[in-house]
């Protein structure tokens, strides 16, 4: 047990979770107080002592699954035979179903045709029958995934194969159809939406079952350590903007909101707790009355540093679009920390998008409008920093003043166009600060057509912003 746990904790650390020695000891204490056969309790005991940040919970769950999924009787691997309880249950279900349809059939799951299997799955989803769903997930994996021992492919490949055979999207439609029939006639829109949510939820659960079943089998095949390595996912704050999958992007978005709240609170606090200023005479006299006219309690004026004015100029061409969108979202989410925010986007032409944000309170809608409406293509839709900057200088250059901070976002891959770096130089002379944020790893800078160095010499700093953690650190510095 001890070996297993220390392996588990090492893997957690490898996954990026900070687990200290005392936490490790606490975990050991904790599990001595709970019955080990209760897997849920065991999981929560470990979770409560080892994971101190909710964003890390998912990583923890994955590692936990890998390390402990094979233990405990109900989670043993079976190949369709020799598992009494679930087969019995299945039998009952089947009987019930067959009676209804007047179509006798018996035997374990192995003997079912795919159609029958689909029917049972549909019923299970319809009734939300957990045990049956688990059994079905197992069966589906066995049948469709085509897993071969020792084959070096990741779990996603098997997952894809299984799900493709199950056609869950079609299933949703069929379920909706069935529930419409059940009510007899049309559902109201609200009802329809609620039903759909319900089924989506169940299908999601089923997918999770399939996924964990695959994982269990892989672990059995390859061993926990090897598996954990392939499944290791970066924590949300370490996901790179440029290579984020759709799922990861969703997670990033979710973690953006608490982050902005945190940032706003921190910035406001920072602003309030500045140095003390000169003596506030009026206030001092006012307070001296309490001491019979003796100014015993001097009061000071607190300086109110002006909020910076922010001008964001973002490259939204394909390669860095995700990063630009993300940064814009973040900046606008804390826009009350700045006296004014103006946003420009470009590919080879440049367009101002400040208006999009003003009109709506909903940031994601504004981002959507940027993607569809902004006029950013001049010739061919390949990034041309030089031209974009030149146009910016001509049109908006006058509006840069000593209060404004200019943020340039992009990888500076200019497709070998002219750089027009003089624009940046001019801007810097007029503005308070000019910063460049580059979503590429530092080692790629100035390779190929990247000329970030050329622009960089004219700015107050070029920052690597590959993930949320770096972006957060930068924004805090900014305000």
């Amino acid at each position: 047990m001890l070996d297993l746990l220390s392996g588990f904790i090492i893997e957690l650390r490898n996954a990026g979770l900070p687990v200290s020695l005392t936490e490790n000891l606490d975990a050991m204490h904790a599990i001595s107080h709970i019955p080990l056969e209760d897997r849920e309790a065991f999981k929560y005991a470990l979770g409560a002592t080892l994971v101190k940040n909710n964003a890390h919970w998912r990583s923890f769950e994955t590692v936990f699954e890998v390390y402990f999924s094979l233990r405990g009787p109900e989670y043993s691997i079976s190949d369709g035979d020799g598992e009494g309880s679930i087969d019995d249950l299945l039998q009952q279900m089947q009987d019930a179903q067959m009676k209804g349809e007047g179509n006798g059939g018996a035997g374990g799951m192995d003997s079912l045709t795919p159609e029958e299997l689909m029917n049972i799955l549909m019923n299970a989803l319809m009734n939300g029958d957990q045990a049956l769903m688990r059994a079905l997930a197992r069966q589906a994996v066995q049948r469709f995934a085509g897993m071969e021992p020792g084959r070096p492919v990741g779990g996603t490949y098997y997952l894809y194969r299984t799900l493709r055979n199950l056609d869950l999207d079609g299933m949703l439609d069929k379920l909706m159809e069935a529930s419409r029939k059940e009510v007899g006639g049309e559902l109201t829109k609200l009802e329809e939406r609620l039903e759909k949510d319900e089924y989506n939820d169940r299908i999601e659960k089923f997918k999770q079952e399939v996924e964990s079943e695959i994982r269990r089998r892989l672990v059995a095949d390859r061993g926990a350590e090897a598996m954990a390595k392939t499944l290791r996912k970066p924590l949300p704050e370490d996901v790179e903007f440029m290579h984020a999958s759709r799922d990861e992007m969703q997670n990033l978005k979710k973690s953006l909101q608490p982050l902005t709240r945190k940032l706003a609170a921190r910035l406001a606090r920072k602003r309030r707790h500045g140095r003390k200023g000169p003596l506030d005479f009026r206030n001092t006299v006012r307070h001296s009355l309490a001491y019979g006219g003796v100014p015993a309690e001097p009061k000071f004026k607190y300086p109110r540093p002006a909020k910076p004015e922010l001008i964001v100029i973002a490259d939204i061409s394909g390669s860095v679009a995700a990063f630009a969108r993300f940064t814009l979202m973040l900046v606008y989410a804390i826009s009350n920390q700045f006296s004014k925010v103006r946003a420009f986007v470009f590919i080879d032409g440049i367009d101002e998008v400040t208006e999009y944000f003003k009109k709506t309170e909903d940031i994601s809608e504004a981002i959507h409008r940027i993607n569809t409406e902004a006029d950013v293509i001049w010739v061919d839709g390949h990034s041309d920093y030089g031209h974009a900057f030149e146009v910016f200088w001509d049109k908006y250059g006058k509006e840069i003043n000593p209060k404004s901070t200019v943020l340039l976002l992009g990888d500076a891959r200019n497709n070998y166009h002219a750089s027009q770096a003089w624009v940046i130089k001019e801007i810097r002379q007029k503005a308070r600060h000019v910063y460049w944020l580059n979503p590429e790893p530092r080692s790629y800078w100035n390779t190929g057509d990247s000329i970030v160095g050329e622009y960089g010499t004219h700015t107050d700093g070029v920052y690597e912003c590959r993930n949320l953690r770096q972006l957060e650190a930068f924004v805090e510095k900014l305000a």
């Binding site: 900070p18 200290s20 005392t22 936490e23 606490d26 204490h29 904790a30 107080h33 709970i34 209760d38 849920e40 309790a41 929560y44 005991a45 979770g47 409560a48 002592t49 994971v51 101190k52 940040n53 909710n54 919970w57 109201t188 829109k189 609200l190 329809e192 939406r193 609620l194 949510d197 319900e198 939820d201 608490p258 709240r261 945190k262 609170a265 921190r266 606090r269 709506t360 309170e361 909903d362 994601s364």
Partner: protein, 287 residues
Amino acid sequence: MDNRFESVQTVRDGLKDVNYLADDGIAGVVFLADRLGKPILVEGPAGTGKTQLAKSVAEMIGAKLIRLQCYEGLDESKALYEWNYKKQLLRIQADRNSDAWNDIHDDIFGSEFLLTRPLLEAITSKEPVVLLIDEVDRVEVETEALLLEILSEYQVSIPELGTITATQIPLVFLTSNNTRELSEALKRRCLFLHVDYPQLEREKEIVITKVPGVTEMLADQIARIVRSIRQIDLKKSPSVSETIDWARTLVLLGLDSVNAEQAKETLHVLLKYQSDIAKAAKELSDD
């Protein structure tokens, strides 16, 4: 030390008796906190019953709840203890004419002149207590250090008086809305519990227990609609307490079931931003 609870299940049942529906995670962590003698750091979105958990646990074990509401600028004279200097002054003045300076000197720093604040009160109390340190993320990082001694050793050191150790180890809950990252030192000393929006089934049960007069069907509908609304990308998703408010509203309106129209008219109970209300109303009627 005796254990307060026998098993996770006892915690769960006990909480249910005082109308708090805990899931496995919550009950498990409360159980462990008692066994390990560690504080619980409860984190999660606003209105998911973090504070209520502490209150319910106090009610369950029949303990007194001592609450320390944190805010910016909280200091040790408000959290730990303070010398009652007015009383000290009086004491000195009363003895002005005698020569017993040495007596007084020792005397005025006795426990008689100590004003206990919530934290000290919690550990000196003879009766069982539950200590709730609410919204701990509101204090500055430096002030957090005040809590460390009491959280790990259950003692308070007063320079003039010595160390006061707890007579019995209280159950401690810290809640946080996560407006800033708490320090490692604090997190390390606590068990971590994240309370999220409940699952459909649990939310439905919560509505049924908390709102008298609600029918099961209505509760089911409410829980489903709320889940649906939470999936929309909103500024502030409805919390459990808002769900309960909404259920109360619907019951007061005398409804047994709710349709899209009625839901839309009462959305302002559930959502607190105009843009959110507009968005949800559109979603509910469009598809």
